[in-house]
Amino acid sequence: MAKYVFKRVILAIVTIFIVCAITFFTMNAIPGGPFNGEKATSPQVRETLEKRFNLDKPVGEQFVIYMKNLLHGDFGISAKTGRDIGVTISSKFAVSAKLGIFAVIVALILGVFFGSIAALMRNRWPDRLIIFMSTLFTSLPSFVLATFLLVVFSVRLGWVKAWSPTHQSLVLPVLSLAAYPAAYITRLTKTSMLDVLGQDYVRTARAKGVAQVKVLFVHTLRNSLIPVVTYVGPMIASVLTGSLVVENIFTIGGLGAEFVTSITNRDYPMIMGVTIFLAVFMVTMNLITDIVYKLIDPRINLD
């Protein structure tokens, strides 16, 4: 176990380092520096500025400095607003994290619920309906779903206020973010539950007269949730990338909206900072998922 964890941690660190390197060097490949903009600066001012931001040093050395700063939580400053990127990220991420956590919880509840129903009513109409709906929802891009929800429920029907200065309803954004993972979890749960229902220990439990409810919740459901755990890492990644568009559509001032704005503004330090932050977050989540997965199911071969 310790060996496995060690190997995974090393892999995660290597991945994070590669992400940082790719991000840094590709961003540096863009021609032009931050100070040859519209206004002509005197060579002296420029030299001072370049020295201040270490731009006079070779790229390799700049990378080392950037990485050192990153380890101290210093992401540099935005090229457009001049604000500290680390501060922006942490304040905006709080909003996105709230949205994301809600979406993950909703997706898990809906997915496990419908997946179990589909498995228990196998080959009857609820099963077929649920599986068809889940295929449908995996075929709808989140931005399409989000726009439709917005148009139908807040513009046409007026049930949910999409924009208000004081209180922002998160119902629609959470639903549009949760739809895809919920549909995926539904299929995952159904498959693994069917698998578990055919196991000997379930038959044994039934045969020795354990109550039906207990068989369902203790013997079946608990074991069929193990594959779902593996999906938590990818789900967080999908919710995070989904929030890039969903936050824009519902005008939620989170990290996703910030990222898209920085792309349209060509705010390179900001893009770099957010990319690295999100990448580190995703890789860490994947690492935790993998380790938890091995912890909860001792049957799994560690190689």
């Binding site: 709808l140 931005f143 726009t147 439709f148 990338t241 568009v245 824009n248 390179y268 990448a279 995703m282």
Partner: protein, 360 residues
């Protein structure tokens, strides 16, 4: 000769005390009766067997029909409808600037006038967009672009993934170990973030112009293909390697080797036919995911270059007036959903039909 030995009439007389069966009491079976006893069905090939099972899957068959209709449409429509995807509608040689944001099957004033004068105007099946371009043609072209991007990207994944995976699987040992470590690292890179990053950078670094398809698609699509070529193949490589590793250990491969078959023959006759279905199915499932990625990129303004439409960029453009012109979002959105749904259902159907081992 052999038959004569069993001829009942030539058999020696049966001893009345013998307990042996009296063959004279039996009748010989006629040819017809022999056929009735033959319960073996006709032997089928692997392909025909799979197709038979696929044909029994209504969802998969429906998907095939939908896809064929869509493909026929993107081939036929541009030569039938007299509008182009990039030009404002012209009426009788004059640019019609009033024909913006029309709802489906309506005509602008100029067009109406022209019709009253006896001219013929092709109806705007899906209306027009905010610049006065025929929306139906734009949606069809968008579908074309999205499908091309999807198929091309999954081809890239297929080629690189199969080559890499099979090399790792065949050679095994140290080569396999190193190659799979590389795959592990690439696998854990956040792919969408990398695509966004490369799109941003490549937009500034390379400049593709000209009238070739790639030139018209723009640098964003090149970076999309590039990222698919760099990152997305790892899933396929893992799959192929795993398949080859398990198939290699089967007894029939050993049997073939023992009976003197060369590696070439083993690969062709025993290993490839057993994993080709899995490979094709996962390539088919790659297409909707590529279309998804493309529409996502178009949505955050990193998609195809204007005026070339893609389904994602059409949906994105439609957002600005979505409350008044909802149809402009509905058409491309339904198209994306139809295509991805059809490919997903078809992929599932193919898996069920051709690979019973993987059935879920």
């Amino acid at each position: 000769m052999a038959n004569e030995a069993y001829d009942v009439n030539k058999m020696p007389e049966k001893n009345p005390l013998s307990l042996q069966i009296d063959l004279k009491k039996f009748e010989k079976a006629t040819e017809d009766e022999k056929k009735q006893a033959d319960i073996m069905s006709e032997s089928t090939s692997f392909f025909r067997d799979g197709m038979k099972r696929l044909r029994r899957n209504p969802l998969a068959m429906m998907s095939i029909v939908v896809l064929v209709i869509i493909i026929a449409m993107i081939i036929v429509v541009p030569s039938v409808v007299p509008y182009s995807y990039s030009d404002i509608i012209t009426v009788n040689g004059k640019r019609d600037k009033t024909a913006t944001n029309m709802s489906p099957f309506t005509y602008s004033k100029l067009e109406q006038q022209y019709i009253d004068e006896g001219g013929k105007v092709f109806p705007h099946i899906m209306g027009t967009d905010e610049l006065g371009r025929d929306y139906f043609v734009r949606v069809i072209y968008g579908t074309r672009i999205s499908l091309v991007v999807g198929v091309f990207a999954s081809m890239i994944v297929l080629v690189i993934g199969v080559l890499y995976g099979s090399v790792a699987g065949y050679f095994g040992g140290k080569v396999d170990l190193i190659m799979m470590r590389i795959v592990d690292v690439i696998y854990s890179l956040p792919d969408l973030l990398m695509i966004i990053l490369l799109s941003v950078v490549l937009n500034e670094v390379i400049n593709v112009s000209g009238n070739s398809l790639l030139g018209r698609l723009g640098t964003n699509m090149i970076s999309l293909f590039l990222v698919f070529g760099l990152l997305y193949w790892v899933g396929m490589a893992r799959l192929v390697r795993g398949q080859i590793l398990t198939i290699k250990q089967n007894e029939y491969v050993l049997a073939a080797r023992v009976s003197g078959a060369g590696s070439g023959r083993i690969i062709r006759r025993h290993i490839l036919p057993n994993c080709i279905s899995v490979i094709i199915i996962s390539a088919a499932l790659q297409i909707p995911s590529a279309i998804f990625t493309e529409s996502f990129l178009s949505f955050i303004s990193l998609g195809v270059k204007a005026p070339m439409p893609s389904l994602g960029s059409l949906a994105n453009a439609a957002r600005s007036g979505v409350t008044t012109y909802t149809y402009k979002l509905i058409f491309p959105a339904v198209m994306i959903a139809l295509i991805t749904l059809a490919f997903n259902l078809l992929g599932d159907g193919l898996r069920d039909a051709f690979d019973p081992k993987l059935r879920r």
